[in-house]
Structure formats: structure tokens, C-alpha cells
């Protein structure tokens, strides 16, 4: 435990070096190298602890409020998330080092705000949240993490969109922290002790517990991006530099998931069945809405951010299922669902980091994140293209990659729903399963669109036509998560075994309990259906089929004499921008028509010139975000109104201020006098 704290302290020290970046030319290397080293140390420590059974490690630091101190504790659950966070930290540091250098070369002296001093602080904040063991330390670290990431978002403040995104982010982050603050307040009311150990020992009453569940779903959910509290996420995440976007999307949302698990499974004691039902419902809404949003985006990084919303939905569905099964006293199935959640947490952190890195590589190479200005990059950036393909296939849940295993496990848990006794839950889980299947399929379409438009076809702009492959550090930063995606997809069982201490801690069972034969290459969880998955067989079959397919195409199609048309119909122009080919919007149009016209009120407007008129016809698409209309605008109005009212307090006379202080003092004294008797 001392090791983790020292590593976090080291991150702070590295941040100091980063603050002196103007004077130290070696500062980026020191910052990213130091951060990667500290992250590697923590991840290794966590993995070794988990492998050794995941015993608790405690530490009490004599800092903070004098009579409270800072309680730190790393149990099995913390260790799982420490691995996720720090693995993301390592790859992001690797990629960020190359990314920053490439940007420095192309843009000269950076006009942007400082990233170097804040980047290690952001990682330190996330690590602190994971090892906090009392409400004060937790909230302090949480807010530290939020503010560090907020400042990182603001580092691109010259972009006109950024200040708006940052403002919204700050608003939602404050809202989320306020909800968590209230939740911990309710949890600690009965005994006044804010340490997690005390909260765990005193289960709250039913009403208070319901309140806490609602507040946690609001507070941690707004950070994770649960619909309808997700509005800030697709604005703020893409605004940061790409490696920070990867951390925010791939890792920080997982810290929010950690907060949900910590409170719902650990601190609140025995769950009630409806908690899981509500959680699952929000998860399903989030998954479907997130992917529908993603399908309508033309901005690569924003598309990825919306896809994060979708994946968080899937994770939250798994959490809800685990709660339901825990409440129904079928701990083995609960462990299965929770294993699916944790596995998907790891998976998503891997492939979302990978895809954000790929977006960063495209941005470095072409200077654009607009899908309609990319295209044909597979010829110019072959390594990035292959790695991005692995990421896109993994996030679309294609076997034998890790995304498939996570979703497969989740569906195994869903298929166990008939064992429940509550009829409403049985029906809800069927609906949720259908929604998840829909979301998964749409995610496939979404990433076919992303990959097809960005990497295939012909370049849509001069910049895309002249793109060059990115440097070695950036490619290595992408290769590490890509390799892990494949390895975890083929051999998921060792990882789930590694996580078993966390599952035993939370639901008191493992997903493999009661099965005699459990080889390490075979994933066969205990469930009523008895399905199993073997990544190795899958890999071999898919490889064989691919070889047969490629050979077949080569033999049958490529050898033929090819006829080409004399007029390219606009497809053969010298100007890449004028080439007629599928655009991102036209690829998304069928799905936008099918779903968007009701959910988003998406409308196509065709401006057709009259016959004889030579101006071009124009097609424009408009859509409105329901979450924006229902949640953000009223909220923003309310906050604005309150701020207007509170603003008057800025302009009182000194005697009025004294009066206010005096009245506050008297009221407090009266409260003490009343409560003392």
C-alpha cells in the first residue's frame, strides 16, 4: 500500500516537472515516462495482490481534517480498477509522448494550455479515488479528478467550442459531486462516522437506502454518462487532446462505474430487487440512445465519445443484472453478471483508448476529425489502419476479440432471467436483452461506418490524400491495447480468474463455482444454460475461413479482366473533395430515417432548384437532442436564475454583510441551543 501511495506522490512530483516545461526541453519525456513508470508500478502491484487472493491493504494517513484522517484501503475491487486505470495510463502516456511531439513539430511552439503538469495529476486523482476508504477522501479525490480533467479539457481553449463544453462539464461535475456528497451524508447519518468500514457495518434503513441508490445513479451516473445526464460527455471528452480523451472516455468513466459498484454492492449491504431493475433500465436506455447518437455524428472523436455512452450502458445493464441476482440469492449468476461488467470495463478501456489513439493519429496526420474530410487512409497509414480495424472489430463485439467475450458473458447472465421469481423483472430483462442486442448491432453499423468512411474509399480532402503515417511511439501506444484486445478475446478465462477475489468480495461467489472441469483456455461459466466459449477454436476457425475467403476472392474475382467506365460520373476527378462517393451522412441515413425521425425528430430538407436554375441542389439534415431539451435547458435556466438572484449578494453594503454574518451566527447558536437539550 505504501508503494501505491509513493507512486501517487511520485505522480505529483512529475507534475511539478511538467509545470517547468517551458524551461526544460526534456520535460515531456520526463512527464510521460515518469507517469508510465508510476502507472506500471501500481498496475503490477494490483495484479500481484489479486493473484495472491486480493487481501485488503490498509493505510491511515494523518492528513486532512484533524479528527478524521485519510483512510486508504485497496481491496480486490480497488485492485481490479487500479489495473484498468493504470493500464490506460501506461498506453496513454506512450501515445501522448509521441502525440505531443508530433504536434509540437507541426504547430511549432504550442498555443494550447498546459497539458504536462495536469496529466499526471489527473491520473493521480483517479488512483486516489480508487484507494479512498472514507467519504471525505473519496469526495476530495473525486473532485480533484474532475477538476484536473476539466483543466485538461480547457487546454484546447482556443477552439471556439471548448469553453462551452468545459462550462457544461463543470456544471455537470458539480452536480454529480453534490449528489455523491448527499449520498454519503445519508449513508453516514445514523452514526456520524464517514469511514467506509463504519458505513458498511451499519446498513441504512429502506427509505434512506432508496435515496442513496437514486443519488448514486445521479452522481456517478452523470460522470459515467448515463442518459439523460450524458450531455456534457460528447462535448468535453473530444475537446481534450487525444490521449487525454482516451483517458477520460476509457478510464475516467470506469472510475464512475467503480463508485457505483462500491456503493451499490459494498456499502449498502443487501440489495433489494428493484435497485437492479432501475439500474438496468437506465443502462438499456443509455446503450440504445448512445449508439443512435453515435450513428449520427460526423466528428470522429465525438462519435467515439457517444459510443462510450453506449458501452457504459452495457456495463450498467450488467451491474443491474448482478444486483437483481444478488437480491434473488443466486450469487453464482450475480457473479457471472458482475464478471461480465468487470470484463467489459477492462475491454472498453482497451478498445476505446485504442480508437481514441487512432482518432488522434488521424488528427495528427490530416489535421481533421471530420469524417467527411478523411477517407482512403488505409493506403497512407497502413499500421494505424490495421490497429484501428482491430479496435473497431473489438468494439463491435466480433469474435475472437475481447468485446465479444464481454457481451457474450453478459448475454449468458441475461439468459438466466427465467430463474427469477419477480415477473416484472423477467419481462424487463427480456426487454433489456433485446435493447442490448439492438445496441450491439447498431454499434457494429456505427463502426463499419467509421472505419469505412475514414480508412476505405478515396480521400475526401487534400489533407487526407497527403497524410503520412504517425511516429513509432504513437504506433506502439496503439499496438499495446490492440494486442491486449486479441489476447483477452482468445484467452479471457485467466483474467476472469484474476478478478475472482473481487467477485467473491462483492457477491460471495465466483462465476465458475460448482463446475468440475475448468481448463484455462475454456470459458464455461456456471449457468442454467451451460453454454461455453473457446477463443482458440474461434481464432483457428476464423483464420481458416478468412484464408479460404481471401483465396477465393483472389482466384475468382481479381484475376478477371476488368472493365472500367469511360466516364467516372464524378468519381474520377483530380480534386479529392469533389469526388462522388458515400459520405458519412449518407451511410448513416437509413438508420437515421428508421430511428432518428422519432427519437431525435431528424428531418431531411431538400432544397431543389427549379428547372433551368443552375445552382446545386442541397440536402440538409436537422435533428434535436431530446436530452438537451428535457434536461439541460431547464437545468441551465434554473441555475442561471439562481445565479442571478445570488449575484445581488455581491453588492450589499458592509453593514448588511455584518448583519448577515450576525444572523447566521445567531441562527447557528439557536440550533446548538435547541439540539443540546
Amino acid at each position: 500500500m505504501g508503494l501505491v501511495v509513493s507512486a501517487i506522490a511520485f505522480l505529483f512530483a512529475v507534475a511539478v516537472v511538467g509545470a517547468a516545461a517551458k524551461r526544460l526541453p526534456q520535460a515531456p519525456t520526463v512527464v510521460y515516462g515518469g507517469t508510465a513508470a508510476a502507472c506500471a508500478l501500481i498496475a503490477l502491484w494490483a495484479a500481484l495482490r489479486l493473484a495472491g487472493g486480493g487481501a485488503d491493504a490498509d493505510l491511515v494517513l494523518p492528513v486532512g481534517l484533524p479528527w478524521i484522517q485519510a483512510h486508504l484501503r485497496a481491496d480486490a475491487l480497488s485492485a481490479v480498477f487500479l489495473i484498468v486505470v493504470n493500464l490506460g495510463g501506461i498506453t496513454a502516456s506512450l501515445f501522448g509522448w509521441g502525440y505531443e511531439r508530433a504536434h509540437h513539430e507541426s504547430h511549432g511552439a504550442s498555443q494550447d494550455g498546459p497539458v504536462l503538469p495536469l496529466y499526471p495529476l489527473f491520473l493521480a486523482g483517479m488512483n486516489m479515488v480508487l484507494i479512498a476508504a472514507d467519504a471525505f477522501t473519496f469526495l476530495l479525490s473525486w473532485e480533484f479528478m474532475s477538476l484536473a480533467s476539466w483543466l485538461l479539457v480547457l487546454s484546447t481553449h482556443r477552439d471556439p467550442e471548448t469553453p462551452k463544453a468545459a462550462h457544461l462539464y463543470l456544471l455537470m461535475a458539480s452536480f454529480g459531486t453534490a449528489c455523491l456528497l448527499l449520498a454519503f451524508g445519508v449513508l453516514a447519518t445514523a452514526h456520524g462516522d464517514y469511514s467506509f468500514a463504519a458505513i458498511r457495518a451499519h446498513a441504512p434503513a429502506a427509505g434512506a437506502a432508496a435515496l442513496v441508490v437514486a443519488l448514486i445513479l445521479l452522481g456517478a451516473g452523470s460522470k459515467a454518462g448515463l442518459v439523460p445526464l450524458h450531455v456534457w460527455l460528447p462535448l468535453a471528452h473530444p475537446a481534450a487532446p487525444s490521449h487525454v480523451s482516451a483517458l477520460m472516455s476509457g478510464v475516467m468513466t470506469k472510475v464512475a462505474v467503480y463508485a457505483m459498484i462500491r456503493v451499490l454492492f459494498d456499502l449498502l449491504g443487501e440489495p433489494e430487487w428493484w435497485w437492479g431493475g432501475v439500474t438496468m433500465g437506465f443502462g438499456a436506455l443509455t446503450a440504445v440512445m448512445g449508439v443512435l447518437y453515435a450513428l449520427m455524428q460526423d466528428d470522429v472523436k465525438r462519435l467515439l465519445a457517444y459510443s462510450t455512452v453506449e458501452n457504459i450502458g452495457a456495463i450498467v445493464i450488467a451491474l443491474g443484472l448482478a444486483l437483481v441476482f444478488k437480491a434473488a440469492h443466486t450469487p453464482v449468476i450475480a457473479a457471472l453478471a458482475l464478471a461480465a461488467a468487470l470484463l467489459h470495463v477492462v475491454n472498453h478501456s482497451l478498445f476505446k483508448s485504442l480508437l481514441f489513439f487512432a482518432a488522434g493519429a488521424m488528427l495528427t496526420a490530416t489535421g481533421s476529425r471530420d469524417l467527411n474530410r478523411l477517407g482512403g487512409l488505409i493506403h497512407r497509414m497502413p499500421t494505424t489502419a490495421v490497429l484501428a480495424l482491430i479496435g473497431a472489430a473489438a468494439i463491435s463485439a466480433l469474435p475472437p476479440l475481447n468485446g465479444f467475450v464481454g457481451e457474450w458473458l453478459l448475454f449468458q447472465a441475461i439468459l438466466n432471467a427465467p430463474a427469477l421469481s419477480e415477473w416484472s423483472l423477467k419481462i424487463e430483462i427480456a426487454v433489456v436483452g433485446a435493447a442490448l442486442a439492438l445496441a450491439t448491432a447498431l454499434a457494429g453499423a456505427c463502426f463499419v461506418r467509421l472505419y469505412g468512411i475514414a480508412f476505405l474509399g478515396r480521400p475526401r480532402s487534400r489533407a487526407a490524400a497527403e497524410a503520412v503515417e504517425v511516429g513509432r511511439a504513437m504506433r506502439l501506444g496503439m499496438a499495446v491495447p490492440a494486442v491486449l484486445c486479441v489476447v483477452l478475446g482468445v484467452l479471457p478465462t485467466p483474467l476472469i480468474r484474476l478478478f475472482e477475489p473481487a467477485l467473491r468480495l462483492l457477491v460471495e461467489a465466483g462465476p465458475f463455482d460448482g463446475r468440475a472441469y475448468q481448463p484455462w483456455f475454456w470459458l464455461a461459466p456456471t449457468s442454467a444454460i451451460g453454454n461455453s466459449y473457446n477463443g482458440l477454436i474461434m481464432l483457428v476457425v476464423i483464420a481458416l475461413l478468412s484464408v479460404v475467403l481471401v483465396l477465393g476472392i483472389h482466384r475468382k474475382a481479381s484475376d478477371r479482366v476488368r472493365w472500367s467506365i469511360p466516364w467516372g460520373c464524378g468519381f474520377d476527378g483530380p480534386d479529392p473533395a469533389a469526388v462522388t462517393q458515400y459520405t458519412a451522412s449518407s451511410f448513416g441515413q437509413p438508420i437515421r430515417r428508421a430511428f432518428g425521425s422519432t427519437v431525435f425528430r431528424a428531418r431531411d430538407h431538400v432544397d431543389m432548384p427549379a428547372p433551368g436554375d443552375t445552382r446545386p441542389a442541397r440536402l440538409s439534415v436537422t435533428w434535436t437532442d431530446p436530452a438537451w431539451v428535457v434536461v439541460v435547458e431547464p437545468l441551465a435556466r434554473a441555475v442561471g436564475w439562481l445565479a442571478e438572484k445570488a449575484n445581488r449578494l455581491q453588492f450589499l453594503t458592509i453593514r448588511r454583510y455584518l448583519t448577515l454574518i450576525f444572523l447566521a451566527l445567531v441562527v447557528l447558536l439557536v440550533m446548538v441551543a435547541v439540539t443540546q437539550r
Binding site: 453588492f651 450589499l652 453594503t653 458592509i654 453593514r655 455584518l658 448583519t659 454574518i661 450576525f662 451566527l665 445567531v666 447558536l669 439557536v670 446548538v672 441551543a673 443540546q676 437539550r677
Partner: protein
Amino acid sequence: MSDLGYDAAHMLGAVVLLMSFALLYQRRLFSLLNVFTLQALALTATAAWQAYSHGEPHLYITALLTLVLKAILIPVALHRIIVKMKIHRTIEPALGIGLTMVAGVSLVTLSILLVLPVTADATALTRENLALSLSVVLLGLLMMISRRNAVSQVVGFMSIENGLILAAVGAAGMPLVVEMSVAFSVMVAFIIFGIFLFHIRERFDTLDMQKIESFRGESD
């Protein structure tokens, strides 16, 4: 402790409180200063009596400091300031005298209700003393907000300090350093207030806070 010691200490503390009430209804600046002097004298007597009855000689230093600073130096200096600056010598209360007195009485009630249960395990004298000094502090605050004149606000501030010292001499074991620092902070505050008043006077030609507030350009 003898009954006499208790009674005398109690009575002197009550005199300090009484003077706080007297401060609240003064309509003229000079009489305000006189009452403030009386309060400081009562405080001196309290400190000296505590020093005598408890046999704690360092409280004599407190008494001496209070006497020199609060009963002599500050009133005389304020007197000179008022004469020199030709300050209008009536006090315009922001809150009616009657209402102020009612508020004051309720504040005293509040402090007694507050202090007595909280300090159930302390000695009787400490409890009474704490209740009295809390009342003096609250009345000083009340005076600061219920007067428009800057000089009377300064006096209100000083009487808050008196309340603190009353608490300090009543609670046995208060180290001398604390009292010294309180005394010196009062001195410093007084100097700052003096300079402040001169500057206000130079700049705005008045010490009526209500008129000064209109110069801020942003207030009501």
C-alpha cells in the same frame, strides 16, 4: 472558593454586561465613549479580582493592560479624533432603541440557554462567566450592525474584544500569551481604525456610513 469571591466575580461580570446594554442606547458619541470607559474599568476590576481571588498574578498584567489600553488610551484617542474632525456628535441608529434593547435581551437569553447546558461539567463560575462574555460579544456585534456611525462601529468592535477578554479571565488557565496577543490585536485594530477614519473623513467628508455607501456606485 469563598462565596464572596464567587459573588464579586459574578457581579463584576454583570456590570460589564450592563455596560454593553448601556452602550446600545447611547445617542451621543461622548457618552458612548464614557460608557465604553466604564465597561473597560469594570473589566479591569474583574480581571484584578480574579487575579486576587485565584492567586494568579499574571491576571494583574491583564488588568493593567485593559486599564491602560481600553480605559485610558483608546477613549482618549477617540475623543481627540471626534473633536479634531468635528464629527457630528449624535448617533443615528439604524434600528430603533427599543427594538435594539429587545434584541439584546433575547441575545442574552440565547447565550444563557446555550452555554449553561453545554458546559454542564464546568464550575459554576466558569459557566456564568462564559454566558456573560458570550452575551457581551453578541451585543457588541448587534451594536456594530445597528449603528450607522463609523466611530460607534469601532466602539462596538472594541466591546466585542472586551467580551473575549472577559471570557479569557474567567476561564482558569488561559495563558498570558493569549491575553497579550488579544490586547495587542485590539491596539493594532484601533490604529488601523484610526487611520481608516481619517482617510474616510478626508475622502468623503463624512463618517456616516450610509452616505459613504452611496459612493460605491454599485449599491442600492
